[in-house]
């Protein structure tokens, strides 16, 4: 039987732009999330990480493939059938000003999910629930009657988190929840997310391009490029011993706040191929330092190199074994 909370199988998502152009955003992604696990989904713009997330919370219809939540396939459920799942699968968005309704107060915003899912039976219970969640995310109750624009960026993001957590979800998909915040505020929100996960035993799928935060918050990481997972494994394993040339370049590109840190930087050449015209074989081959002729012919599988570490590169997998 399935011990995973969420299983994504061979997920594909394409967007038709016009009669001749199709954007291949996600091209065969497989992964599983175990209960109470925090997993980072990383990669750069256009790698398909946000689209994958949006498919999971059903903000997008998948083109092909399956998504199983607690063993139940959710991609083909009707709106009504999906509603009980929605309660357990919540999302926190990148831009709190875009994702909060400007006409609702904080109280109304946090109350909405309780009403939709009929989670409280008396007004007193609802009030208690709202106050409880506000305290949990470190927001003063005096903010309840403010509108989003009367809040600071950090407070807004806390409201977004409160709205997601008020239903008591099992899985929370966080799409770049801290990238709009200043660094001295960011760490407070990251720390909050970490404590909440421990307290409430939730599973996180944490979408980010900020790998330092992923290292701090997550146990496992999935690295995506051109709509595919190119490398995955435990965070320390991937960050300390990256195998895929792209992961190496990505990690080496991140500035380290330490003037003494010295390392070999890999500067990638050029830009990723167009998502409307995917190259045959490995999508990274043209920028890869390991590439051989065969890489441009067939798409590499995810090779298991031990310790839960898998890499979609024949050459890199060979280096290890």
């Amino acid at each position: 039987m399935d011990s995973s909370l969420l299983r994504v199988e061979n997920l594909h998502k394409q967007f038709r732009l016009d009669r001749t152009t199709t954007v291949h955003a996600v091209n065969g992604v497989d992964f599983e999330l175990a209960p109470r696990e925090a997993v980072g989904l990383v990669g750069e713009s256009g790698c398909g990480k946000s689209t994958t997330a949006r498919c999971i919370v059903r903000l997008e219809q998948v083109t092909q493939g399956g998504i199983f939540f607690e063993g139940q396939e959710i991609t083909r459920l009707s709106q009504r059938e999906f509603r009980p799942v929605r309660r357990s699968v919540q999302m926190v968005f990148q831009d709190p000003i875009m994702s909060l309704n400007p006409r609702l107060t904080v109280r109304q915003t946090v109350r909405e999910p309780l009403l939709v899912h009929h989670l409280t039976s008396t007004p007193a219970e609802m009030k208690a629930r709202i106050e409880e969640i506000m305290t949990l995310v470190n927001l003063e109750l005096s903010l309840l009657d403010r509108s989003p624009r009367q809040l600071s960026g950090g407070q807004r993001q806390r409201v977004g988190i409160a709205r997601a957590l008020v239903t008591g979800p099992k899985l929370v998909v966080l799409d770049e929840p801290t990238s709009s915040l200043d660094m001295s505020i960011r760490i407070h929100v990251i720390d909050l997310l970490r404590r909440l996960q421990e307290q409430m035993g939730m599973t996180y799928l944490f979408i980010s391009h900020d790998l330092s935060t992923v290292r701090y918050l997550c146990q496992r990481v999935l690295v995506m490029y051109l709509g595919r997972v190119v490398e995955t494994g435990p965070v320390d394993e991937i960050f300390d011993r990256p195998l895929h040339y792209y992961t190496r370049a990505l990690l080496s590109a991140i500035p380290i706040p330490d003037p003494r840190a010295r390392r070999q930087r890999i500067i990638l050449k050029g830009e990723p191929p167009s998502l409307t015209k995917l190259p045959p074989g490995c999508g990274f081959a043209d920028r890869c330092g390991f590439a051989i002729g065969a890489c441009r012919e067939d798409e590499p599988a995810l090779y298991d190199v031990g310790r839960g570490h898998r890499v979609a590169c024949r050459q890199a997998a060979g280096l290890r074994s």
Binding site: E44, Y216, I267, G270
Partner: protein, 337 residues
Amino acid sequence: MTREQGAAAGSTPAHHGEALLRVENLSISFPGRDGRVAVVDGVSFHITEEETLGLVGESGSGKTVSALAIMRLNRKPARVEQGQIWFEGQNLQAKTEHLMTGVRGREISMIFQTPRSSLNPLMRVGDQIARVFRLQQGLGRKEAKEKAREMLRQVGISEAERHMRSYPHQLSGGMSQRVLIAMMVACEPKLLIADEPTTGLDVTVQAQIFELIKQVQQTRCMAVLLITHDLGVIAELCQRMVVIYAGHVMESGSVGRVFDVPGHPYTQMLLQSMLRVDRRADVTPVGRGVEEIVYTLTACRFAPRCPSVMDVCWAQKPAVVDIGPGHRVMCHLYSGE
């Protein structure tokens, strides 16, 4: 005020003599609810030739406004209340607008955080770069085109020929920034002001852009004022740094010293809130996570967030104190002795 007095924060005995740029006691105000508010309040720093100085601060710290003031590009509601900006011994504040036009681009160039909005959307990329050569170096049409093509290749744009004919909307963010760098290099300035040049770009593209800036800096012997909120970028690229908060320079010094022995509680807080990709670190957030910046405070503007706040912090603006070689802090913690 003499230049010696005004040199307040960020003054080190420079290795190669006189500073290239010296900002002295600069204050810039914006209209607020109760009269004008000094968003930049007595900022001083300097840059020597060929050096990279990092100006680090969060949103609302006044770092962009200060940089724009150097170029005299601040627009209406903003007003420079006091201060001098010396570039190669000349006071830029005193120059006529006509003379200032000769400084912009040719002497001091600036690249911005939204490269696409700095390009003319209706003009082909090649023509825009060629135009710089014609205006700045007085080249003819054909020569300028040829130079532009060469420049595109130099900043690492593949298929330079094709991109000569591209319009800005057909370029990615990273490519747009490369085009702007090409235009900047065409002017051969002595100082480049780079205002968060990689915001919104992916890290691998950021690495490409910084590599390019470093390359240009070395081959053209140019000084760089790098404005950023990322201490990682400062650590990798800069020799000296200036930490700015709410329009006050809180700390300045060599990057090595400031990272090793940060003096100001704000700098300490910033450094403690940095996560690192190369190791798993435990970070404890400092302070209460207040975000509001109080520009009206006449004393220390960091007082509302400061973990070591004292009574005097609310009453009086701290003096700038030397706490090491070329290392200065504006904080009452050090004014006792």
